[in-house]
Every structure is written in C-alpha cells, then in structure tokens.
C-alpha cells in the first residue's frame, strides 16, 4: 500500500473508528457517550467523502456527508436532552449507577 493522500485519510478513518468503539466500550458518563458517538459519526462522514472521491463521485459523497452531519446533530440533541433529564431526575450522569433493567 503506497502512502498516497487517500490512504492517509483511510487510515485516519480507521483510527477514529477504533477510538470511537473503544470509547463506547469503556465510557459510562452519558455526556462522554454522546461525544464518543460524535467521533464515530465524524469518522463515517470522512469515509463517505473519501468513498465519493474514490469512485469519482465526490459531489454525491460530499452532499451525503453534509446531510449526515445535519441528521446526526438531531440525534445528538435528543441524546443530550435525555441526558439532561437523567441528571435532573437521578442526580447522576453515570449510566451504570441508574441501571436497573436486566435479566
């Protein structure tokens, strides 16, 4: 694999994904979880642009990436709203502390 610019970006995507999934596995704080999800989505956004570029369809890739950013902001807003409610009603942001549903 040669070190051209596309591969560098690809490497970046993989790195971001790895960081994101690792974060998802170890994080318990709700705000941090939202941040980690954002990292994952950003990795995907870059991947989409990269895929557009690689297939000679950069415009499509970019427009999709932009849409994903918007759509994902909505998810982040909902997630943060839930986190606020959790903090308000339980006094903590640690998901493992309020966890009662199992079995």
């Amino acid at each position: 694999m040669t070190l051209n610019s596309l591969n560098v970006v690809l490497f970046g995507v993989i790195l971001l994904l790895a960081v994101g999934f690792y974060g998802l596995l170890i994080t318990r704080n709700l705000i941090k979880i939202v941040l980690v999800l954002q990292v994952l989505v950003k990795a995907v956004v870059i991947a989409l642009v990269l895929a557009g570029k690689q297939s000679g369809n950069l415009g499509l890739g970019q427009s999709i990436a932009a849409t994903v950013i918007v759509a994902d902001t909505v998810v982040a807003v909902v997630a943060l709203a839930l986190a606020v409610q959790v903090r308000r009603h339980t006094g903590t942001l640690d998901l493992s502390k309020i966890s009662t549903l199992r079995g």
Binding site: L40, A47, L101
Partner: protein, 507 residues
C-alpha cells in the same frame, strides 16, 4: 410517467404531524385540557383515515398497473412495490388503533401533543422507508424512524427506568446506524452509485465479490440488525419495549422492528447477486432468535418484558421463512414470512394493547408506576372479561394454537421448509415447531392466571377500562380469529410482498 398517489401516504401523516403539535400547543390556553386532548387525537385520527383512503387508491393503481409504482422528486426516487404496501398496511393498521387506544392512556400526561405528533410522524416515516429506492434515502428514513422512536420510548421523562431504556436504545441504535453508514460508504466507494437498481445490475455482472462489498454486507446485517433485534444485538429491546407507553410498545414490536427488517432486506438485496448464501445467514439468525427469545421469556415475571422477548422469537420465525425462500427460491417461504409479519403485527399489537389496558386500569389509574407483573392479573377475567379474552387470544395465537392466526402463518412457513425435502430444513422446521410448544410454557400460565376464580387484590382495586381502549382489542381479536379460520384472506397483501422480495433478490 403518470402521476401517482402513493407519496401522499407519506406526506399526509408527516405534514399533519407538526400541525397536531401546534394545535396542542396553541390551543392549550384557550381550551380545557380535555377538549384539547380530544382535538389533538381527532386530528391525528383524521390524518390516518385520509392516509387509509390514499392507501386504497394507490393500491388500486398498483394492481391496475401490475408493476411497482415510481415517483421522483428531483434526484430522489421512491418506488412502491408489494413489500412497501405490506409495510404500509401494517403501519397504518396498527397506528390507527394505537391512536384510538392511547386516548385515555396518555390523557393528562405531560407532552400529550408531542406523543401524537411523533406517532403520526413515525407512521409516515415508516411508509416512506418501505418506498426508498436508494441506499442513502433508506438510511435517512431509518434514522428518522429511530429518532422519533427514542423520544417515544423515553416518553415518561420523570421515570428513571424509562430514561435508562431510552438512553440504551439510543446508543445501540446509533451505533447500528453508524455501521450502516459505513456500509453505504463502502458501497459508494466500490460501486460508485447508491441507487439500488444500479447496484444490483452492477453486482450481477461481477463474478467474485470484492472484500469491500462483503464488509458492506456484514455492516448492513449488523447495522440494521440492531433495530431488528437479532440475537446478540437485541439487548436494548426488552428494556425499550417494556418501558415505553403500551401503545408505543405495540408499535415498536408490531411494526418498527419489522420496518428495520424491511430496510435490511432492501439493503442486502443489492448484494443479492453474489454467490453468498444469505439464506443460510438468515436461517442461522432465525434459529438463534427463536430459541433464545423463548428461553429468555420463560423466566420473566413482568408481562410486557415477557412479550418483548417473545418478539425476538417471532422475528426468528419470520427470518426462517425468508431464509428458506432465499435458500431454495421457494415463494412459499417468503409468503409465509410476509403473512407472519402481518399476523405478528396483529397478535403482538393486541398483546401489548391488552397488557396496556390492564396496566392502565390496574396500576396507572391508581397512580402506581411500576411494571405489570404476571401475578397482578390473577382473576382478571372476572372483572375485565373482554380484555382478558383479548389477551388470551393474542397469547394463544402467538403460541401457534388454532383456530388463531399465528397457527396459519407458521404453518405456511413450515410448508416451505418441507418442500424440497432438504433434511436440514426439515430438521429446522421441527425445531421451530418444538419452539412453539416451548413458548406455550410461558403463554399458558398467564392465561391461567387471568381465569382464576379468586380476584387478586390488584384486580379488585382496578378501575374500569374505557371504551376507546376496548375497541382496538375487539377489532384485533376478531381479526386473529377470522384470519385463523380463513388464512387465504390476506393473500392479496402477502403474495405481492413475497413476489417483490424474490424479485429484489433476483430469485
């Protein structure tokens, strides 16, 4: 291109949804609480009735043209085939009665107008999801469905269990959606297009599958699989389905996971040309889901949680039907799966609504906010004969007893498994049938509990169940019996759906 009506099925509920919200908000100062609630509900119901009319008209168009309906807005293409209509019928059927049911259930809760607005929106979104013909478009509908369902699951904002369920659901679902996007990026990179028909054409001309597309396939299976609750991606489901308001539990179990399945099938079908045995994959997940779901349900003491696990096992049956169809190209499997999809909507919808009616009358009305336990239902039939009968019918139908609907659709799936006399498939069908028997071990005790002679304390204190809640119960229970006695009644819907499925996968 003739103008077509079906996009209005999507536009009407989506368009009325903000109006419902606004009406609830603006009217709040002028009208009494009760009047506002009725107005909001009425508007939602009206929108759904209009959508029903549009459904009938587009269906007539569909049968008259005898090919899938196409529509485009600039570069966005929507198409309506048999599968789209199946999903639309399911969503509308359940949505209408859930709106009716939710009247007394949600009345007086904070954010009532949001509830109906989101409910209406999710109906439109799911119909749209069924019509998407472009991977990214599909993802957009999928994501929109997910976001509205997060809000509905965490509707009780003051209850920490409900928030916990909502949060877990959100995180797992969002992870799934990231995986789907990655898959889309891979398809875009490899195929250069996201239009499903074009990808299909491209894939069928290629001999070997490139690794990128295989990875995309795996990402689609898992990404959408989170929503469909494939074991072991199901962990959010029992929490979310049991904590949501009962009408929403019915929607989630009856149509949302099924919509996820439709989305997955659409995405996977683009890669259907490769010589990958998608059938085996679906069969494996089907067997796992069925067995796991049943065993997990066996030990549950909460009614709604038990029903949630039973959804896992029913998804298993549907996957087996689809798997058989892909495995040997037998349309019986696909049609049986489509039939079971529909029946599961009716049966599980009824089960959740009836459980919800009990939850409402026994606990919520007395201001007790805890999950409904099986033992709370002791003697329920004495005070609530109708709801108890409805719940019993739903449970026994889920367990596959005749003369109820679940028996017939399972039978149709089993028929497909035996045709061709493949020993593995026959073994799998026998395993599935034994699983049905196993499921009776948790459905039956609940029925026995309902028909006890001595009323439990909880039932004795219970409030009456309002008429608006009883109507959906009666309609769904009747539907279960009628379909059970006359199984070909739903052929008009399931046959085109099965055909669309097989065409999609190029069988």
């Amino acid at each position: 291109m003739n103008p077509t009506l079906f996009p209005w099925m999507i536009a009407v509920p989506l368009g009325v949804s903000p109006l419902v919200y606004l009406a609830g908000r603006l009217g709040s100062h002028k009208m009494e609480l009760n009047g506002r609630s009725i107005f909001v509900r009425g508007l939602a119901l009206l929108a759904l009735l209009v959508t029903w009319a549009l459904f009938v008209l587009s269906w007539m168009e569909f049968t008259a043209r005898n090919e899938k309906l196409l529509f485009n807005l600039e570069s966005i293409w929507l198409n309506a085939d048999g599968l789209s209509f199946l999903l639309a019928a399911m969503v509308l059927g359940l949505g209408t009665f859930v709106v009716l049911f939710s009247g007394p259930y949600i009345a007086g809760e904070v954010g009532e107008e949001k509830y109906y607005a989101m409910l209406l929106a999710i109906v439109g979104i799911m119909i749209g999801l069924g019509c998407a013909n472009d991977l990214f478009n599909l993802w957009m509908w999928f994501e929109a469905m997910a976001v509205s369902s997060y809000l509905l699951v965490a509707f009780y904002r003051e209850r920490s269990a409900s928030l916990e369920a909502g949060m877990k659901y959100l995180v797992q679902s969002a992870t799934g959606s990231v995986l789907v996007l990655l898959g889309i990026a891979l398809v875009l990179g490899n195929a250069g297009t996201l239009d499903m028909d074009k990808i299909r054409a491209m894939v069928s001309s290629e001999s070997a599958a490139p690794f990128g597309l295989l990875l995309a396939g795996a990402l689609f299976v898992i990404g959408f699989g989170v929503k469909v609750a494939f074991v072991p991606l199901h962990t959010w489901l029992p929490d979310a389905h049991s904590q949501a308001p009962s009408g929403i539990s019915a929607m989630l179990s009856g149509v949302v996971i099924e919509a996820g399945l439709v989305a997955m099938l659409r995405a996977l079908s683009t890669l259907g040309g490769f010589s990958i045995s998608w059938g085996t994959l679906l069969l494996a997940f089907g067997a796992l889901n069925m067995f796991f779901g049943n065993l997990m349900a066996l030990r549950q003491t909460q009614v709604k949680r038990m029903l949630a696990y039973s959804s896992l096992s029913h998804i298993g049956y549907i996957l087996i039907g689809l798997g058989i169809a892909l495995f040997n190209g037998n349309p019986a499997g696909a049609q049986g799966a489509a039939f079971h999809l529909f029946n599961h909507m009716v049966m599980k919808g009824l089960a959740f609504l009836a459980a919800g009616a009990f939850l409402f009358a026994l606990l919520d009305k007395s201001g007790i906010h805890r999950p409904l336990e099986v033992k709370d239902l002791a003697g329920g039939a004495r005070k609530y004969p109708l709801a108890a009968l409805a719940l019993s019918i739903a449970l026994l139908a889920l367990g596959g007893l005749p003369p109820l609907a679940g028996f017939m659709s399972k039978w149709q799936i089993f028929v497909a498994g035996f045709q061709g006399s493949n020993a593995w498939l026959m073994g799998l069908v026998i395993f599935a049938a034994l699983n049905s028997v196993l499921s009776l071990a948790y459905y039956a005790p609940l029925v026995n509990m309902l028909y006890r002679r001595n009323m439990g304390e909880v039932v004795e204190r219970g409030a009456p169940i309002p008429l608006a809640m009883n109507i959906p119960l009666v309609v769904f229970a009747l539907a279960i019996v009628v379909i059970g006695l006359w199984p070909s009644l739903m052929n008009w819907l399931t046959e085109p759906a099965a055909q669309a499925f097989l065409v999609m996968f190029g069988k």
